[in-house]
Each structure stands twice: as structure tokens, then as C-alpha cells.
């Protein structure tokens, strides 16, 4: 019998590409509002806080506040974009529009659909990260062109990690309302703990220890030095931390989704 266990390893296949293209085609049609929502919002925050608060602070972490914040915003915006995509749009495709059901009747299987969701979430978030990076370049905030280009592969990794984490929630969710738990209990605390707006070393010790485990901290520890013109320290460790969060989440999300849909 081919009675595979739900939590068996993912089966990888390039057949996911048509599903990715489907999402891309939908996005192209709605690109205007999508770009505005995904990109304008973080940019306004970055500029507002950057200049407003920045004028009160001489320097943060050895840089102008707006530069410090811009590096955090790249990560924050990438995370948010991936999360929103796999949570709300992913749930809509899976549960509301039954797009996945239609796809599963073709030669594609659920593993292909999930891989498409993962890579699509990462693709959309790459666009968000890229937009903030473009503002950074436009304002000349980066200290080194070459190092700031290295932000791009990091953004892809951040997008994959947070897409995978979000897919766990999508797999468990009975309705859109459920996602508020994830934002309130996971995303928002992470934003406040991981050094988007201020250096983590300003927090009490126990919060610093907690923050060190969270994926957003590792993302920021990679991106911020690259913007500030330094080579990050402990690169392998940060990459491994993000990859571990991503892979474990993806494996869990796939297992939970198989359990939910393949019955």
C-alpha cells in the first residue's frame, strides 16, 4: 500500500512551476494595489520614524538612525510580505476559492502546491525587500554598494523562512480570524524583540536571550552590517538558524496540510 505517513519528507518536483505562474498571473492583474499595500506602508514608517526619531538621536549602533532603521525595515518588510501572502492569500486559495482542490485533480499533488506557495511567498517578499533596498540605494544610505547587494540573497532566505512559518498557521487555520493570534503572539513580539527599531542590547538580559532564538534577529544580524558596510559576523550561524526555522516549519506545515486535505 502506498499509505505514506503525513510527516514523510517533502517530495520535490519542478511541477510546482505552473502553480507559481498562476499566482504570478493573478498578482500581475492586481499589482497596483498590491505594490501600494506591500511597499508604501513600510516605506512611510521608515521615513517617518527615521527622520522624526532620528532627529532626536545623534547615532544608533554607530550609524544614523535612519540607516539603522532602514536595515531593520528590509527584514521587517520581507517578513511581513511573506507572512501576509501565505496566510491570507494562501488560505483564500486553499480554503475559500478551493484553487488547491482544482489543482489536485491534475497531475500535481499537494507537495507541488505547497512548494509553489513557499516559493511564491518568498518571491513576493523579495519584491518588498527589494523595494526598501531601492529606497536605501536612492537615498545613498548604504555604505558599500557591493556589500548591500548581498542583502538580496539574504532577503530570499528570509522570505523562504517566514513563508514556511506562515504556512504552518495556514494549515491549522479554521478562518481568517485565526491569523490575528499569529500576528499578536508571534510577529509583533518578534518585531519588538529582534532589533528592528532599536538595538537588542538595550533590552533586559532575559529578553535578549529570548531574542537570540528568533529568526528575525538572525535576519537583522545579517542585513544590518551589510547596509552599514561591514561583513556580518557568524554568517554561517545566522544562515543555519534561518534555514533551520524554515526547514522545520516547512516540514511541519506540509505534514499538517497533508493531514488536513488528503483525507
Amino acid at each position: 500500500m502506498n499509505n505514506r505517513h503525513n510527516f514523510a519528507a517533502p517530495r520535490l518536483s519542478l511541477r510546482f512551476i505552473p502553480v507559481w505562474r498562476r499566482n504570478f498571473l493573478v498578482w500581475k492583474k492586481l499589482a497596483g494595489s498590491s505594490i501600494l499595500g506591500n511597499l508604501a506602508d513600510p516605506m512611510l514608517y521608515m521615513l517617518g520614524f527615521g527622520y522624526g526619531l532620528g532627529s532626536l538621536m545623534p547615532e544608533v549602533g554607530g550609524a544614523r538612525y535612519i540607516t539603522f532603521l532602514a536595515a531593520g525595515t528590509v527584514c521587517y518588510s520581507t517578513m511581513n510580505s511573506a507572512t501576509f501572502e501565505v496566510l491570507y492569500s494562501g488560505f483564500s486559495r486553499m480554503h475559500v476559492q478551493k484553487t488547491w482542490d482544482a489543482i489536485l485533480n491534475t497531475p500535481l499533488n499537494l507537495d507541488d502546491v505547497m512548494l509553489a506557495e513557499l516559493t511564491w511567498g518568498a518571491s513576493k517578499s523579495l519584491l518588498s525587500g527589494l523595494a526598501i533596498l531601492a529606497v536605501i540605494w536612492g537615498m545613498g544610505l548604504q555604505q558599500s554598494w557591493l556589500l548591500s547587494l548581498w542583502v538580496l540573497p539574504v532577503v530570499i532566505l528570509i522570505g523562504l523562512t517566514f513563508s514556511a512559518m506562515g504556512l504552518v498557521m495556514t494549515a491549522l487555520s479554521p478562518s481568517y480570524d485565526f491569523f490575528i493570534y499569529y500576528f499578536t503572539l508571534v510577529i509583533t513580539p518578534m518585531v519588538l524583540l529582534c532589533g528592528v527599531f532599536y538595538p537588542v542590547d538595550r533590552l533586559p538580559d532575559f529578553l535578549q536571550i529570548a531574542a537570540a532564538w528568533l529568526p528575525l534577529s538572525h535576519a537583522i544580524d545579517l542585513v544590518r552590517p551589510l547596509i552599514l558596510g561591514r561583513i556580518p559576523t557568524y554568517i554561517a550561524g545566522h544562515v543555519a538558524a534561518l534555514a533551520t526555522w524554515g526547514l522545520l516549519s516547512y516540514w511541519l506545515a506540509l505534514g499538517l496540510t497533508r493531514r488536513r486535505l488528503l483525507k
Binding site: 500500500m1 502506498n2 499509505n3 505514506r4 511541477r15 505552473p18 502553480v19 505562474r21 498562476r22 498571473l25 493573478v26 492583474k29 492586481l30 476559492q97 478551493k98 484553487t99 482542490d101 482544482a102 489543482i103 489536485l104 485533480n105 491534475t106 497531475p107 500535481l108 499533488n109 488528503l262 483525507k263
Partner: protein, 303 residues
């Protein structure tokens, strides 16, 4: 040649066995019906046949492929019309066909060449660029049927294809299905409209509580299981009429609410008797598949 062969299919959910040892054989080129009341196990059976869920026991072979092991390869040659419309609301009619064809790994140029024929088949040529939200229920169903043909499948599986459609739209779907049958396609359909099964299916099985309780061609089943004539008698006093005459005039009779179904070979005697009854209305008709279905599955509501 057997195009689909399933043996001893079993599927259990918790304490309930929804499919209990089902055997199916479908020949190439026939229209095969899987009929049964709600909860009989029809949709679960279809999901197992398509390789979407693994049976707990039993074996399936479709188009020479063992399922679910090679479900992907089997589905490459199958078209599916699901019970619920799941067209892409963000796309036009044309884009729905294009995107769906890509899932089969078909090149865009091949799909584009097929689209005019599919639109013609579905009667949607003028709606090529319409958004899905602007289509009527019947148009959506026709598009879903056309979408299932995008890979030029050998087997077309339809799960309650006309549920929720008005009679006009239903007839158009039937016409389309007959056209496919005449082209030599094999069709597997589930339905709880007996008229649909009787009109379209060469052979069918009646499924109840997860097992096949009867099978054969609709005509043979009616001939074998049911008296040729049915008298439907309506009225408040129908129970009294049944008690008085039912056993003598009918070979078999059933009462549901204020209706009595009298099954008989000699309808003249029943008609003579009824002409004298002014409080009763009646309808004389030949027996049909619904009578067979109700004989096997009973008249109680299934929810």
C-alpha cells in the same frame, strides 16, 4: 478492455468504514454511473480512484497505472469535473483554460490551439474574455467541463455534474456528455439524479453504506427489479385505500406521507378501482430507475 479496475476498496474514518469492499470495472468507451444517497461513499470512492487519498485496503488500476502509486501518471490522462465549482475567479474564461492546461505540463502553444475548440464545446466562444464572476451557474459548469478536457483525457470523471443547475442548463450538460461518449471517451459520473443516470449511463452501480448493492444497465435493472407500471396515488385517505386494496391490486406498495406507490403488472384493475374514488388523485407511469433506487436504499431521509 477494462479501463478502470478496482478490487476490494476499503476506507475507514475513525469508527466508520465509509467504503466497505467495493469492486468496480469500467470498460473503455462506456458511461458508468456511481449512484447512491448522500453519505453512501461516492465522493470518497472518487478520491481514492484519482489517487488523492490512499485506500486502507484493496487495489486500483486506471489506464494501466496502479493508483495511488502512479496517481500522477494516471491523472495526466484523466479529466475531472468536481462537485463544487473551483474556477479561478481572478481570471477570464480563456485564462482559466490556459492556466489549468499548464498544470498538465502542456505547452502554451498547444493549449492556445485547443482553446477555441473547448470554448465552442462549452458554448462560451463569445465569453472568451469574460470574468468568471459574470458567468451564470450553467456557464460555469460548462467551463468546468471544458476545463476537464484541456488535456484531451481518455477518462472523464464527473462528481454530480448537474447539481444546482436549472433544467435547461442540465440538458445542455447532458448534450455535451453524450457528444463526448460518441467521441469514444470513457465517463465515470456520480449523481443522485436518477433521470440523469438513466439517460446517460450504459451501466451503473448503486452504492449504499460503502458497498455496491446493485449493478447493471439501467434498463436491465428496471426490468429485473421493478414491476413495469407504477401508480402514484395521492390523498388524505390513501392509507385506507392501501389497507383495503393494496394487497389485492398491487404486487407491492409503499406509503410515504400522503402518497402511495403501487407497483403492478396489471394497471387496468387498479385504474378501474381508482376511477370510483373521488377523494384520491393518481398518476400512472412506467417504472424508472428512481423506483429501483428507492427499492434498494429505502425512502428514509439521508443527511
Amino acid at each position: 478492455m477494462s479501463l478502470l479496475r478496482a478490487r476490494n476498496l476499503r476506507k475507514r474514518y475513525g469508527d466508520t468504514e465509509v467504503v466497505r469492499g467495493l469492486d468496480l470495472d469500467i470498460e473503455a468507451g462506456e458511461c458508468f454511473g456511481l449512484i447512491g444517497p448522500n453519505g453512501a461513499g461516492k465522493t470518497t470512492t472518487l478520491k481514492m480512484l484519482l489517487g488523492l487519498i490512499a485506500p486502507d485496503d484493496g487495489s486500483i488500476e486506471i489506464l494501466g497505472e496502479p493508483v495511488p502509486l502512479r496517481g500522477r501518471e494516471a491523472r495526466l490522462r484523466i479529466g475531472v469535473v468536481p462537485q463544487m465549482d473551483n474556477l479561478d475567479p481572478d481570471f477570464s474564461v480563456r485564462e482559466n483554460l490556459l492556466v489549468y492546461g499548464r498544470y498538465f505540463g502542456i505547452a502554451d502553444s498547444v493549449i492556445r490551439a485547443r482553446i477555441p475548440g473547448l470554448l465552442e464545446f462549452a458554448g462560451l466562444t463569445s465569453k472568451e474574455n469574460a470574468r468568471i464572476t459574470t458567468l451564470s451557474g450553467g456557464m460555469k459548469r460548462r467551463l468546468t467541463l471544458a476545463r476537464a478536457l484541456v488535456n484531451d483525457p481518455e477518462l472523464i470523471v464527473l462528481d454530480e455534474p448537474t447539481t444546482g443547475l436549472d433544467p435547461q442548463a442540465r440538458h445542455v450538460i447532458w448534450q455535451g456528455l453524450r457528444r463526448l461518449i460518441s467521441q469514444g471517451k470513457t465517463i465515470l459520473l456520480t449523481t443522485h439524479f436518477m433521470e440523469e443516470a438513466e439517460r446517460l449511463c450504459d451501466r451503473l452501480v448503486i452504492l449504499d453504506h460503502g458497498t455496491a448493492i446493485a449493478s447493471g444497465s439501467p434498463r436491465d435493472m428496471i426490468a429485473a427489479e421493478i414491476e413495469p407500471s407504477v401508480m402514484e396515488i395521492y390523498g388524505e385517505t390513501v392509507a385506507d385505500w392501501g389497507a383495503q386494496h393494496g394487497h389485492t391490486l398491487c404486487e407491492r406498495f409503499e406509503i410515504t406521507g400522503e402518497t402511495l406507490f403501487c407497483y403492478t403488472r396489471d394497471c387496468d384493475r387498479v385504474l378501474d378501482q381508482l376511477r370510483a374514488q373521488h377523494s384520491l388523485r393518481y398518476l400512472h407511469r412506467p417504472s424508472n430507475l428512481e423506483d429501483v433506487f428507492l427499492k434498494f436504499t429505502g425512502r428514509e431521509l439521508r443527511d
